[in-house]
Symmetry: C2
Subunit: 295 residues, 2 copies
């Protein structure tokens, strides 16, 4: 294995997913202020969410990023391809095209895709129980979006989500499954589609190393997201841990990625009532510290 | 596909995992009373937990089962093979041998194995982050127990647990992974080891049908557990749903099992604060009803 990058002496490869600090102590933290706070700390990359960008304004966001010399590690997010009627399908398609355009405007390296689960499940009432059918809709939706993405030269990054989100958020649940879809849609692997590897979602997978190696061979490793898995985990969505506080061997995972040529950012994405209860400054300072010591 | 068994007109293939009614409205329901209540409803199979058997007495339990003409669909449970020191390893080995002896005394068709996660994680403090190492301990532990199990002609049923339990309860998390281990330890597939397929743990798996077919070819389908996945799920452990209340396509899963020759019980195993808050009679009546309509 080639020598891993040394993260201990600086944080040039740290990116902040802005959901990590989107609402601190009950108050929305405006995206432009988050960018400023990151810049003050020498954090040179972020991954913003679309609703945050919409609130701040797309052009204002792009301008602020340029002013700070900041780049994106990804754009969050497209996807949600599953539907229960034709109107839902069309709405998803239109929305994903807008997401692509925004990603281009912000010069993102990729549009991250959370593909959707059983239609209606996120609202508490699934329209059906046919997860295989939902997966077919996802394959079709990604295929359609891929044509648009190729026109814009904007890579798509499928993010497999933890199986506990299969019903409500994403029915692509393993790296193997995501790569199978990539290989089907893009057999030449020309850079148009790949995967976002989020430690929280994939750390448990007995085939993780094998599939990272597969993804490396086909040049599909587009992003690395980090946080940690806490024991106990008290909430399925919003109890993710700060790096170092849980059981994920993050350096090992990063080593597997880097052995396959991954040389991009390590993007911190933490959904956590605990961390949202602190000041944004404290959270960002902790991210910098843990990035150096635990990733 | 061969015609599935018709569950709608009787419940001869219903089994109750006794954790489903172990504590109703805050009061432990004694195992012998559970057996009586099942017998009153024509429920002819159960899967009791070791702590419940210990409280009721092993011989008393066996006698009551015989008196009712009831059989086991499995015995819950052996496993927890991972350890952080030699004393822990020895304790696990001894305890698993006792579990085997109890399973024999109760004439169980198999001893179900929940293999363990990272040592210490269930108590909140994992001894390490090496899940690959934990999996090696599991393979070694199952191999040792298999020798004892063969002597007693007691089949072992590895139960892959949902990936959200990888840290604390079981680092075998997919049917494929469980079957890989079975094939390694028992390449001839002589009936000594197989799998317990629990809908809750595996329903999300994109390779589920494929791996059930594989398990059928090698005669490893030893048990079927059912409940349902709720949306939302509010607790990682104790918010499992009654069949029909969630998003799992149980008839499809059972169909895949039966197409491979599975002709055993459908064992209801529900950990749920909601159902534990009702009377045991109401829960059992609901299990009978849903078994007929939703499985």
């Amino acid at each position: 294995m080639p020598t891993m990058r040394d993260f201990s002496t600086d944080h040039r490869w740290l990116s902040i997913n802005t959901a990590t600090v989107r609402k601190q102590r009950g108050v929305d933290w405006p995206l432009l202020d988050i960018l400023d706070a990151c810049a003050e700390r020498g954090i040179r990359a972020v991954s913003p969410w679309r609703d945050q960008v919409a609130s701040a304004g797309l052009r204002a966001t792009a301008a602020r990023l340029r002013a700070h010399g900041q780049v994106l590690s990804g754009y969050c997010r497209g996807g949600m391809f599953t539907y229960s009627d034709e109107a839902g399908r069309q709405a998803a398609r239109d929305d994903n095209r807008r997401a692509l355009d925004e990603a281009c405007e912000l010069a993102a390296p990729c549009l991250v895709l959370v593909v959707g689960g059983l239609p209606g499940a996120l609202a508490g009432q699934a329209a059906h129980r046919d997860i295989a059918g939902a997966r077919e809709q996802v394959a079709q939706g990604v295929a359609e979006l891929l044509a648009d993405a190729r026109e814009r030269s904007m890579p798509l990054a499928i993010e497999p989500l933890h199986p506990m989100y299969a019903a409500e958020r994403a029915c692509i649940n393993t790296l193997e499954q995501a790569l199978d879809l990539c290989d089907t849609l893009d057999p030449q692997s020309d850079g148009a589609i790949g995967v976002a590897v989020d430690a929280y979602h994939v750390w448990w997978d007995p085939k993780l190393q094998q599939q990272i190696e597969r993804a490396g061979r086909t040049k599909r490793l587009l992003a690395l997201h980090v946080c940690d898995w806490l024991t106990p985990t008290t909430d399925l969505l919003n109890d993710r841990g700060m790096m170092g506080d849980g059981v994920i061997d993050l350096p090992r995972l990063r080593g597997w990625m880097e052995a396959q040529g991954y040389a991009g950012f390590s993007e911190v994405e933490i959904f956590s009532h605990r961390w949202w209860a602190l000041s944004g400054a404290e959270v960002l300072d902790t991210c910098v510290d843990r990035h150096r010591r635990c990733v």
